[in-house]
């Protein structure tokens, strides 16, 4: 790590398991699952009827009675999480007029539903009936733009879209901007919504768990019975600041981003050797960026989501990336409860990890009964683990080759 230190001074989260870091952590600690029959759209004829939907999401709860009509579901999720993160970190409107704040958002689709609906309306009723307001939301940077308008965020505004790793890449990107002094305070994280169009795509690609068991039983990361992931939704944003600014304004410091690393598997998961090596490589980059050795990593928040190949590659990649020193490494995989929230997933893991650093509770992987025989991660458990975490490793691994790792360290006041 070279340049300014980057600290986390607040977090905002909108998820089916709670709309604050504490509530999300409590739900995860109790092993609650968000994976239930979907109500947002019909899943008739699809292989998987389950998803992690935010059933009662109401943006006015966070944003008040302003005009929300121009914001689609993804934009509302992001603007709400931004409101919570700004409030949590103490950045009032007045302070934001003096110090410009930016936003780096990771999202896989932004709103595929908005894009598709706009096009379908033009097909069905004729192009003259397509909605200009919806058109402005068909761009993939729409949610970041809408959120900037909602909260007057005039500094850097960047959207990153690298699939599952989008959110973690966004945090990495923001970290670099603060390290180099280009920005001083940035909201960074990710979001994706649950919608029919992307759900249909994942289902048809055979990536979702197909079970006839009761709701909540699947997916099961690292388990020998795993047969796919479940899709979820949500938004999670961290307030990242240059440490000097955070101290100057007396902000509470939740943690620090000490390292990040990325790599790409050119075989896109088709070749196990390359896939494992890419994951290991991202971890090694993050470790050297953080000036940390494998034994200094106190827990892993895995990307594992229940996919057959992906979980296997990650288990092996972690061991390779940490030079085999994983026998005593506690592991969690919160996608077992939240599902695969795509762009939101890495930042959700970051929010959860900060809570673990605070109270020492690492959530279990509730349905885990039998870790796949040859998986070298010995400390994946169904029950919560006590963990004194100073440095935690977070992985994000995409369906098609993207790998990103991030290392957070505990805040100073602990």
């Amino acid at each position: 790590m070279i340049g300014n230190r980057v600290v986390i001074t607040g977090a905002g989260v909108i998820s089916p398991l709670g709309d604050s870091p504490a509530r999300l952590h409590d739900s995860l600690g109790r092993g609650l699952s968000a994976i239930k029959p979907i109500k947002l759209f019909s899943t008739e004829g699809l292989g998987c009827p389950l998803g992690g939907e935010i059933a009662d999401f109401d943006a006015t709860k966070y944003l008040g009675q302003r005009n929300l009509r121009p914001l689609d579901r993804t934009s509302r999720l992001v603007a709400s999480a931004a409101q919570l993160a700004l409030a949590d970190s103490g950045w009032s409107i007045e302070m934001r007029n003096v110090q410009e704040i930016g936003l780096v958002l990771g999202t896989m689709f932004c709103s595929l539903h908005t894009i598709s609906e706009f096009d379908r309306r033009a097909l069905e009723a004729g192009p003259a009936y397509a909605s200009p307001m919806d058109f402005s939301n068909t761009v993939i940077n729409a949610a970041a733009g809408q959120t900037a308008i909602a909260h007057n965020l005039r500094d850097v505004n960047t959207t990153i879209s690298t699939g599952v790793t989008s959110g973690l890449e966004a945090i990495s990107y923001a970290t670099e901007l603060i390290r180099s002094g280009r920005a001083r305070a940035l909201l960074a994280g990710g979001a994706d919504e649950l919608c029919f169009e992307s759900f249909y795509g994942f289902d048809r690609a055979g990536l979702l768990c197909r079970s006839n068991v009761t709701a909540g039983d699947f997916p099961i990361p690292f388990d020998s019975r795993r047969n796919g992931s479940a899709l979820g939704e949500g938004a999670a944003l961290l307030m990242l600041e240059d440490v000097a600014l955070a101290r100057e304004r007396g902000a509470k410091i939740l943690g620090e981003v000490v390292g990040h690393g990325s790599s790409y598997d050119c075989s896109r998961g088709q070749d196990s050797v390359q896939a494992v090596e890419a994951i290991a490589s991202a971890i090694r980059h993050a470790m050297s960026d953080a000036f940390l050795l494998p034994h200094e990593i106190d827990c892993l928040s895995a990307s594992a989501n229940g996919s057959r190949g992906g979980d296997q590659h990650e288990a092996e990649g972690v061991v390779a990336g940490l030079n085999g020193q994983t026998q005593k490494l506690p592991v969690t995989a919160i996608k077992s409860m939240l599902g695969e929230t795509l762009g939101a997933s890495g930042p959700m893991q970051a929010v959860s990890l900060l809570e673990t650093m605070r109270d020492g509770v690492l959530p279990g992987i509730p349905q885990l009964h039998q870790v796949e025989d040859d998986f070298p991660l010995t400390m994946a458990r169904s029950k919560n683990q006590e963990a004194d975490v100073i440095n935690g490793l977070i992985n994000s691994i995409g369906f098609d080759g993207h790998c990103c790792s991030l290392i957070l360290s505990r805040g100073e006041e602990n």
Binding site: I2, G102, M108, C110, L112, S116, F118, D119, R120, L123, G126, P127, A128, A130, S131, P132, F135, S136, T138, V139, I140, N141, A142, A144, G145, A148, I149, N152, L153, R154, D155, V156, N157, T158, T159, I160, S161, T162, G163, S166, Y173, E176, S180, E197, Y200, G201, F202, R204, A205, L207, S262, Y264, C266, R268, A278, H285, G398, D400, G401, H402
Partner: protein, 408 residues
């Protein structure tokens, strides 16, 4: 590692030519790539012209992946990447593949995949849509396909900041290289001609019926287009060591957000000015030293007027001296590729001391009273070029390219 990052290769796929040489010659000659739309039937629209890429044969460039199963934006991106590497004289086998990365921008990703989904949906034949939809649609596949084709295992990023995406992607690649995270980056943007984009701009009343005439008093709007632009970026020391031709240094950039309106720019050009100001500061450039500005210049009434205001706000009297041109007068608006192609133009301008014209500019708008290089290319010393790009969401990005002779 040298923190000075230079452009050593250029690859473009455009409506007026594929490959750097053909494109540049046509651009200087003021040739237009705007013609009746062929990608889909426009009879239900009130506008019918676009800037599509013609005579593009994906198999000429895609040697390892299955070209027929890739979306058009991925095909363009791979072609531009291969052209850029060849132009740079880079032997792919000589690279440390873990330190070779890709940073791309786009507006729409692979829009034809979602359009195919929508066609099936409205005709109640959704079962025709299989696994390929989610494998080929998401925008990150453009950067992923480039990397898989070339076996680049380093940083791989997609920045979909709409019509300014190319500049964002190049700026990101610059940061990756300044931080020493790669030896070589391919950076640029790609977009395929899209029904969704065409419909949207038509509904906004932003599409011109015939031609694109930025800064002209009677300008009637933009013309949607398609294409790709990719640059090869390397640290200066590495480029010198291998005796590479250096087009220009990527000297700095600035990003800002209007936080004002999704589709309309800030009425005083405040966000655009902030991005330009930061780009100058980042590259330690003074207003007096800027030799050329490649405008966003879409040809819509508002954009061209506000862009002029923003340039005047920052450059004051200097604004009247600096030649400014919009190649969108010839290429139309190639969306996420636009600012990448325009960055290539800036690199070629500082390399060859020539700047392309703004064509169709016959009756200047009194509110647009700067020097827009009307209708003919110009030859003059170009030391420093500024590349401006603005997007939906109020995303503004300015890039500064500097002449290699100014490097020590």
């Amino acid at each position: 590692m040298d923190r000075r990052i230079v452009i050593t290769g250029i690859g473009v796929v455009t409506p007026i030519g594929i490959g750097c040489e053909m494109f540049w010659n046509n651009l200087l000659a003021g040739q237009s790539g705007i013609a009746p739309v062929q990608s889909f039937d426009t009879s239900e629209y009130n506008v019918h012209r676009g800037a599509e890429v013609k005579e593009f044969n994906a198999e000429d460039y895609i040697l390892n992946l299955d070209a027929a199963h890739l979306g058009r934006a991925s095909q363009f991106a791979i072609a531009a990447a291969r052209l850029a590497l060849a132009d740079a004289g880079v032997e792919i086998g000589s690279l440390d593949r873990k330190r070779a990365g890709v940073s791309m921008g786009t507006t729409s990703g692979e829009p034809r995949e979602v359009e195919r989904f929508d066609d099936a949906y409205v005709s109640k034949q959704l079962d025709r849509i299989g696994p390929e939809f989610i494998q080929l649609y998401p925008c990150h596949v453009i950067a992923a396909h480039v990397a898989s084709e070339l076996q680049f295992a380093g940083v791989n990023t997609m920045i979909p900041t709409a019509c300014a995406a190319g500049n964002y992607a190049i700026a990101h690649a610059l940061d990756v290289m300044r931080a020493g995270r790669a030896d070589l980056m391919l950076a640029g943007g790609s977009d395929a001609f899209s029904r969704i984009t065409f419909t949207g701009f038509a509904r906004l009343g932003a599409v011109a019926p015939e031609i694109c005439q930025p800064f002209d008093r009677f300008r009637k709007g933009m013309i949607p287009g398609e294409g790709a632009g990719v640059l090869v970026l390397e640290p200066l020391d590495r480029a010198r060591r291998r005796g590479a031709r250096i087009y220009a240094e990527v000297a700095g950039y600035g990003l800002s957000c209007d936080a004002h309106h999704m589709t309309a720019a800030h009425p005083e050009g405040a966000g655009a000015e902030r991005a330009m100001r930061q780009a100058l500061a980042d590259s330690r450039t003074n207003c007096e030293d800027v030799s050329y500005i490649s405008a966003h210049g879409t040809g819509t009434a508002t954009n061209d007027r506000l862009e002029t205001i923003a340039v005047k706000r920052l450059f004051k009297d200097e604004a009247y001296r600096i030649p400014i041109s919009s190649i969108k007068s010839m290429l139309g608006h190639t969306m996420g590729a636009a600012s990448a192609i325009e960055a290539a133009v800036c690199a070629l301008a500082v390399f060859s001391n020539r700047i392309p014209p703004t064509i169709n500019l016959n009756d200047p708008d009194p509110e647009c009273d700067l020097d827009y290089v009307a209708n003919s290319a110009r030859e003059l010393p170009v030391n420093i070029a500024m590349n401006n790009a603005y997007a939906f969401g109020g995303n503004n990005a300015s890039l500064i390219l500097r002449k290699r002779e100014l490097l020590n």
